[in-house]
Amino acid sequence: MKILLRKMVHKVRNFKKFSLFNKLTNWVKSTSINIYCFTSGCCGNEILAILGPLYDSERWGINFVSSPERADVIMVSGTITEKMKPILEDLYNSFGNEKVLIAVGSCAINGGPFYKSDFVLKGVKEIFNVDLYVPGCPPRPEAIINAILKYKDHFK
C-alpha cells in the first residue's frame, strides 16, 4: 500500500514537469497577474493612479492583493529605510517559491536622491535579486504598466 502511494505521489510530482501542464499554468499566470504592492513615499500615489479609469489596469488582469502568500509578483516602490528593512525581509521570505521582484522609482533602485543619507538603504538590489528596474522620480503610470507588460513575456 505504502509503495503504491509513493508511486502516486511521484507521478503527480512528475506531472508538474510535463510540458503541456507547464504551458497551461504559464498561460494562466500571464493573463491574470496578482501583485503585492509594497509602497512608501511619493511613488505610491502613482501606483494608485493606475487603478483609475484613465489607465484601467484591470484590462490585463492586473490585480492588487493584500497578502504576499497569494501574489505572483512583489512590487517595491519608494524610499526603503533601515527601519523598514526587517519588515521587507519578512515579507520576502513568506512569498512563494518563484520570487519575482520589480523595483519602481529611483529610491528603490539605488537610493535615489537620498543615497548620501545614513537612514536610507542604498537600493533593494543590495539585499534581494531584482528582476526589473523602472527608473523615474516618480515614473509615469504608463511606465509602470509598460514594465508589468514586459514581465508578462517572462512566461511565454
Binding site: 489607465y55 528596474y133 527608473p135 522620480c137 509615469r140 509598460n146
Partner: protein, 140 residues
C-alpha cells in the same frame, strides 16, 4: 433614503457617458510638449553632427553629479557622454544650464530594463533617435 436614491441615479447616468479609458499600448495618452522624460543629445539635421562641445556647464549644474563628459584634447568634439539614469531626479536643471541647446529632455518614458548596467546611458543610446532605421534605409 432620498440621498441614497440620488447617488444611485448618478451612477446610472454615468454608465451612459463616453468612456475616457485610453487603450495604452495601442493608443497613447497625449502628453504635453514640455513634459520631462529621459535625456538626449541634439544632433544637427544637416551635418549629422552632435552640437555639444564639452564645455561642462551641465556637469556643474547637476545636483547629484550624474553627467560625465570625455573630451578630445585640442578640439571642439566629445569622445563620450555618460548619464546615469538610475538615480536621476528628472529635474531639468541640466537642460536649463546648457546655453547651446545641445541637451534636451525628450518624451521617452518607457525606460524599464532587466539589466542594471543598461541604465547608464552612453553616447550611442543618447543619439539613438537620430540614426536612420533599417526600413527607411532600404526604401531610399
Amino acid at each position: 433614503m432620498k440621498g441614497i436614491l440620488r447617488s444611485l441615479l448618478t451612477v446610472i447616468k454615468n454608465t451612459f457617458i463616453r468612456s475616457i479609458t485610453v487603450l495604452y499600448p495601442y493608443d497613447r495618452i497625449i502628453i504635453p510638449y514640455n513634459s520631462r522624460g529621459s535625456i538626449r543629445l541634439v544632433v544637427d539635421l544637416d551635418t549629422k553632427e552632435i552640437i555639444c562641445d564639452g564645455c561642462g556647464e551641465c556637469v556643474n549644474a547637476c545636483p547629484l553629479k550624474l553627467i560625465s563628459v570625455e573630451k578630445v584634447s585640442h578640439d571642439k568634439k566629445i569622445k563620450n557622454f555618460y548619464v546615469d539614469i538610475s538615480r536621476c531626479l528628472f529635474c531639468g536643471l541640466c537642460e536649463e544650464a546648457c546655453k547651446k541647446d545641445a541637451l534636451k529632455m525628450n518624451f521617452n518614458y518607457e525606460l524599464a530594463e532587466r539589466d542594471f548596467s543598461a541604465l547608464r546611458h552612453d553616447i550611442d543610446k543618447l543619439t539613438e533617435y537620430a540614426k536612420p532605421k533599417v526600413k527607411e534605409f532600404w526604401k531610399s
